[in-house]
Symmetry: C2
Subunit: 331 residues, 2 copies
């Protein structure tokens, strides 16, 4: 029995390739005093990880070259010398892209899997769901009857944004890549409309889908889509800026050309990350967990099998090839 | 006795030229029932007027081709059939670029000139001062010890922003064009530093003047200066977006290249105009008037003499040739 790990082998200068990662095997770690060992069941793959591969300053520390790639897993405690965690506990922990990891309990969350499936704690009831909840409620502040637009609408964050907006009485309009994702967003998730940005003529599509303009834009992508959305924002509208996936490989793609709209329409823009609001995680997870349990919040997962497939799955995620929350199943 | 007027003769496609205006004389108007006639003493010239000359949608209606240019004056009521305004009252009114205008009292403010000079109601105690007050207090929300940067720092709005920030215990750093303006901003207005953007190397100058980074940016100009400022914004910093004068003639100049900073630093940006907050005008004007009266708020005026010189003065304003609040003296 070995511990398979994915290391950051090189920092990408543009698109991420499998050669930027190196897969190795090491001994399964032992827990020291005050520590415990987690066997990961699922690794979460998220767009933010692209930023960790860079050297540029971001909101969190970079992944170190030659070290295990940073990331969050859900799994089971298999050995413990920690008073608050015991073998058999299910937990969420940031032990990274590896099958086994040691923790001292810092930042680890115990998970109740009686009502919510374990993997959902990496998606609808985890960081992506909480991100949707915080961005929409704290920064978007939609009112019933308003129009909420979200990009990457079939993804883990976007799908929750639109469903939460619908429950608040808003018109929810998604933007996603391809007919299949758009059909899912409307037919399965219950959005009012979803625009296929790959079909071209985004401006006309936004005008048609948002006849009263846009009051809240929850942005996961930036770039060309943001530039089009800015043409349709209403006076006193809000933009919750959650991600800029369109520019992770090419910062020039993020250029904003219609900045005048921010002044003319008195737009409020707020960049945010979910860890800025740790006080809101508990109420958000409680609400999201109940919604998942009662079927009010639906989600979809793309599951790659085994750590060997994690780099390819991550590259696919950056190129929009996933459909729903991207996970790697490790057990 | 005639009423000299400046009409909008043509809409500019790029830079404003004198040929876009036409100066005419008409009869001095008469007040009908419920109306009064104002003889303007000072006409205010403001950057926002550039937007009114365009056909493009903005936050207020355009000036009409062939009509008197829109604008605010302060002056004296010389004839009245209105129960609330009588001859001899000093008022602020939006009768535009002309010597005499008729009003029905809508939106007209009576002015007390016993403690504050009449012209100040177009500057430090008028729209520019109130704009500074609202943008800084409502959207910038500076805390003592924070660094506040303002562009167009020697202008009517910018000069008030920095002085208000200093009174709140902040470090105030201006950006202005040329050594004379910068000296004035530091030596007369009491800012901690002022950067001459025409001297080049704005990034290095910002780093030197803002050793703890920037917490609040009050932006009057957009464009290249905003792009540099974005490199120095702190986590959880705020941008009060008040004007985009660098792009009024060339929207491409407003392109934002470092949009990623909004996410990485979780910046809050808010576009605003002072008329969105009419409830705040009274407290703002009261505080600003007391500050002018007691010498805590200093200001400077650039005064053109006579309406014939208004177009040239306005063009100079758009090119940063004014030094302080630009007025046209009409009497």
């Amino acid at each position: 029995m070995k511990n398979k790990q994915v290391l950051l082998a090189a920092r990408p200068t543009g698109a991420v390739e499998e050669s930027h990662f190196r897969i190795v095997e090491s001994e399964i770690p032992k827990a020291g005093e005050g520590e415990f060992v987690v066997r990961a069941h699922y690794l979460s793959l998220d767009p933010y990880m692209r930023g960790r591969m860079d050297e540029a300053k971001s909101y969190a520390a970079n992944a170190e070259l030659g070290a295990v790639m940073v990331g969050t897993v859900v799994g089971e405690v298999i050995e413990s010398h920690h008073e608050k965690f015991k073998a058999g506990d299910f937990v969420e922990t940031r032990t990274g892209w590896q099958e086994y990891g040691v923790s001292n309990g810092s930042g680890v969350r115990k998970l109740d899997t009686t009502l919510v499936p374990l993997s959902a704690y990496l998606g609808a009831v985890g960081m992506p769901g909480v991100t949707a909840w915080i961005g929409l409620n704290e920064h978007g502040k939609p009112k019933a009857g308003e129009t909420v637009v979200v990009s990457a609408a079939s993804g883990a964050v976007g799908s929750a944004v639109g469903q939460l907006a619908k429950l608040q009485g808003c018109r929810a309009v998604g933007i996603a890549g391809g007919r299949a994702k758009c059909d899912y967003v409307v037919n399965e998730l219950g959005f009012d409309a979803c625009i296929d940005y790959k079909a071209g003529n985004l401006d006309a599509a936004l005008a048609a889908s948002c006849p009263k303009g846009i009051d809240v834009y929850f942005d996961n992508v930036g770039g060309a889509i943001l530039n089009s959305v800015l043409n349709h924002m209403n006076a006193f509208s809000r933009i919750a800026l959650c991600g800029l996936i369109s520019g992770y490989n090419d910062p020039d793609a993020l250029t904003v050309r219609n900045f005048r709209s921010f002044l003319v329409n008195r737009i409020q823009l707020r960049g945010f990350i979910c860890s800025d609001h740790m006080d809101l995680w508990r109420p958000a997870m409680k609400e999201l967990g109940e919604m998942v349990h009662t079927g009010k919040l639906k989600y979809r997962e793309s599951i790659a099998i085994g750590l060997d497939n994690a780099p390819a799955a991550f590259i696919g995620l950056l190129n929009g090839k996933n459909f729903g929350k991207q996970l790697v199943k490790l057990i």
